[in-house]
Amino acid sequence: MKNKLINIKNEALAMIMGASDTSELERLRINYLGKNGSLTQIAKDFKDLSSEEKADIGRIFSEAKSAIENALDEIKFNTRKVSENIDQTLPGKPVRVGLMHPISAVAREMNDIFRYLGFSVADGPEIEDDEFNYNRLNLPKDHPARDLQDSLYIKEPDILLRTHTSSLEAHILATHKPPFRFVFPGKSYRYENVSASNHMIFFQYEGIAVGENITMANLKSTLETFIHMFFGPERKSRFRCKYYPQVEPGVGVDIDCQFCQQKGCSVCKNRGWVEMLGAGMIHPNMFRMVGIDPAKYSGFAWGMGLDRITMSRYKLNDIRALFNGNLEYKI
């Protein structure tokens, strides 16, 4: 009887799927579920079963019955014309999607641009030692710039959480032979009391290109292309001299202040320009430390605040919201 029931169900489902109009569906309903329908008939034999069998068969029976009913309902619904009874001015059913974290989304936008310019993407350790976090970046012990970077230590004096993604620059220089081009978005850590504008975790986006005959003119073109593709073709940028221990000559890149159309406002401190990134030609000391000949090879590097750019892109004015559950995902 069990097999019979399952056969009836399978046969019914196949017939329903193959039905071509509503009258056929109605005929099928009567055929299986009607007073003299095959399911109804089989139920009449239940009285001869043992109670144990009854429970088992009964379950299969009701499952078969509801499967047939559901199939009929579904087909009916699907064949009904959409416009018949539905007010189409009502909103559609919301569809839930997953979104990337804004930091990941911006990093991806940037990666796409730099891939187009021939860069690959690198990543690396977040636990660093003094050598890679400082020494290799032309920041020897007692360098004044070290003071600006209050580190989070794991083991003093030399194991710490990286204070910048530049440590990865040191790793890349140590492991790759020129020519190469890399970008690297990543997490960095500093001793910082958490507030709306500062956090002990922050994100940077850096890049490096090394080879023969790489010049500041290439640096300019690469970063201008990035700025136009990322911020918009109408945006203006300016390159000025700036000091960073990792580069020589050093470059600061500003973009025009959008808030005041360069008329001067509190965002740009009345400068008309907003500081966007730091860059420059890789310092010869950085090459020497890894045995790359600075007289033969040259290269440029740059770095920017991925979290700052993300916050301004999505108008999020509290850095804590990037991590603490106060971020709304709008779809």
Partner: protein
């Protein structure tokens, strides 16, 4: 650095338009922070101590606007007494001080002239008396700090420099401020006690209206040591800021000469001693052999050789031709110039970064070599968002108690100096952070939670530290839902077993954490995943043009579901899909799809297989 423009114009002719001045200064590396009336505030460059004096700023202005630098008037110092009777430096302090130069003068203390009081005020220092004001005035002009002592207050009328004793007290010139020194601080003493530090003078020997004779000093100290003293004692002065920078010891003399001139003029000063000049290792000027072609090689722009020489000369670099190269000697105050690349920057910043053309990178593009460790994270982001999960980023350091509650404190790494002592455990799992995040969302009445994070976790094994990339996801619903997510993820990745840790958040723990909705989570080791990742996954095939036969069967489950499925599949190659419908006791309802590529199946084709499947003994292992 505050730069009062009317004062600056003593040393160089300024352009009429302040904006064109500040724009140029910004372009060559001294960015305008803000303008306050007559005073412009320039951002300090870490490596240019010469710009901590107005003359240094004037020199830059003279260079960019093609003007002449007018140095202020000076008075030659008394001759040097080679016995250096006035200054003794303890051997233990010889690494702390490079040069210490002093002499004594009779003075008439009184008020400063009005113009000087006004200038000091515009820069931001109050007037004290003519002697103290002159030391401040000269520091602002030259960048070289100096100090005047009341000579009569110095026991023994001489100075000795030694490391301070641990616990030694010192009263600073600021009324009431007493600090406790350590052996790492340099103490400048008379015969009895500490009278001055590198960063601030002492109360006892300060110059007052009753002072008749002074000791005037200017010095160059070990910069790092000054910086550490300043941090340790929590004292920052205009002097300490300058001593922390890499000042050249040669700067001491012109600064004292200038002070001597002003003291004669405005305090009727007369020297009463020769010069004591402690300077055991005088620095010699360094010269750099420079290839002019380096400008093009690094800068991407050709600068005519005559222009190069003109720029360097105007910055007071000495330039001599040496064959095709140049032998360049930077002035002493340019302690930042060490090699060829530094000279390229000098030339280019004055020539103008805006003159550099924009030229795309050329040559063969390096082979794409994005790191697999990065690529897999991007792939996981794609797959998880496809599966309807939102990505979050939680902190790498978690609350110590939370770590303990999750049992994540065993081989965890702790921060030595966390800003918040309660949050010092580096996470060994993403789940505690994700649970906290989910809890916050539940409290905001978001009841349908699907979150994931890709990130590093950290472990300690004895003295070794390691970090591993993990994927964690957490959701409301039920365990089979989250297992389904893991299963689909595995299919998308093309890995049969992604070794997920699948679990419900322990109800007892959930209760302690005040989480009232059941949460289910999965955590996967991404580094391991990477080892098993196929280079290529085929998610596609051509569907048979013949209709399948789909039917439900009931079957007893003994053993695992996976075994059963494999057993069913082995019955016939026509069985293309097995779908789980429901479970009742030990009985499973499964939906079997029979399909053949080459023909339409009939009932007879599958009857024999069906019989095997429905045989009660089929799955009795």
């Amino acid at each position: 650095m505050n730069v009062p423009l009317s004062w600056l114009s003593d040393y160089v002719k300024l352009p009429k338009d302040t904006k064109s001045l500040t724009d140029k200064l910004t372009a060559i590396g001294h960015m305008l922070d803000k303008t306050k009336g007559d005073v412009i505030d320039l951002e300090l460059r870490g490596n240019r101590p010469d710009l901590l004096g107005l003359i240094g700023v004037a020199r830059e202005v003279a260079t960019v606007f093609n003007q002449k630098l007018k140095l202020p008037e000076i008075k030659k110092l008394p001759k040097t007494d080679i016995k250096c009777p006035f200054v003794k430096v303890d051997k233990a302090a010889s690494n702390m001080v490079y040069r210490y130069t002093a002499f004594s003068l009779k003075v008439e203390v009184g008020p400063s002239p009005d113009w000087m009081i006004k200038r000091l005020a515009s820069w931001g220092v109050p007037t004290i008396n003519n002697v103290v004001d002159i030391t401040n005035y000269v520091m602002i002009e030259t960048g070289q700090p100096m100090h005047a002592f009341d000579l009569d207050k110095l026991k023994g009328k001489r100075l000795s420099l030694r490391p301070a004793k641990d616990g030694e007290p010192f009263s600073t010139i600021q009324q009431g401020q007493t600090v406790v020194l350590t052996s790492k601080d340099l103490a400048i003493c008379d015969d009895e006690k500490v009278q001055c530090l590198t960063l601030i003078g002492g109360l006892e020997s300060k110059v007052t209206n009753n002072t008749t004779e002074i000791a005037l000093e200017a010095a160059t100290y070990n910069q790092a040591n000054c910086r550490r003293s300043s941090r340790r004692l929590k004292i920052m002065t205009d002097g300490s800021v300058r001593h922390e920078k890499h000042q050249h010891p040669a700067q001491v003399i012109p600064a004292l000469e200038r002070a001597y001139y002003l003291l004669q003029k405005y305090a009727s000063a007369k020297s009463t001693s020769l010069l004591s000049d402690f300077y055991p290792k005088p620095l010699k000027p360094k010269s750099i052999l420079f290839k002019p072609s380096e400008v093009k090689r690094l800068g991407g722009i050709e600068v005519p050789i005559n222009t190069i020489i003109k720029i360097l000369n105007s910055l007071e670099f000495k330039v001599a031709k040496s064959g095709l190269n140049l032998k360049i000697t930077p002035p002493a105050f340019r302690t930042d110039i060490e090699e060829s690349a530094d000279i390229v920057e000098e030339i280019l910043r004055i020539y103008g970064y805006d003159q550099i053309p924009s030229i795309p990178l050329s040559g063969v593009s390096p082979q794409p070599m994005t790191y697999p460790t990065f690529k897999i994270q991007e792939t996981l982001r794609d797959h998880m968002t496809k599966l309807g999960f939102d990505e979050v980023i939680t902190l790498s350091m978690i609350n110590n108690k939370l770590a303990q509650q999750f049992g994540c404190d065993k081989d965890a790494i702790n921060l030595i100096n966390p800003p918040d002592p309660n949050i010092s455990t580096l996470r060994t799992s993403l789940i505690p952070g994700l649970s906290e995040y989910a809890k916050k969302m539940l409290n905001q009445n978001n009841l349908d939670i699907k979150l994931f994070e890709v990130g590093k976790v950290f472990n300690k094994h004895d003295t070794k530290y390691s970090e591993t990339i993990k994927l964690g996801f957490i959701a409301t619903g039920d365990i089979l839902y989250i297992k389904g997510v893991a299963d689909t993820l595995a299919k998308l990745l093309g890995i049969i077993n992604i070794n997920p840790l699948i679990s419900q958040l322990d109800p007892k723990l959930a209760f302690t954490l005040n989480i009232k909705t059941p949460l289910f989570f999965v955590e996967i080791n991404v580094d391991e995943l990477l080892n098993n990742l196929p280079a290529f996954v085929n998610h596609y095939a051509i569907q048979s043009i013949y209709p399948p036969i789909i039917e439900d069967i009931n079957i007893n489950l003994s053993g695992s579901y996976e075994e059963l499925v494999n057993k069913i599949k082995s019955v016939s190659p026509l069985i293309k899909n097995i779908e789980f419908i429901e479970k009742y006791g030990d009985k499973l309802t499964l939906r079997i799809t029979y399909h053949d590529k080459n023909k339409q199946l009939s009932n007879e084709d599958i009857a024999s297989f069906r019989e095997i499947l429905v045989d009660p003994d089929f799955h009795k292992s």
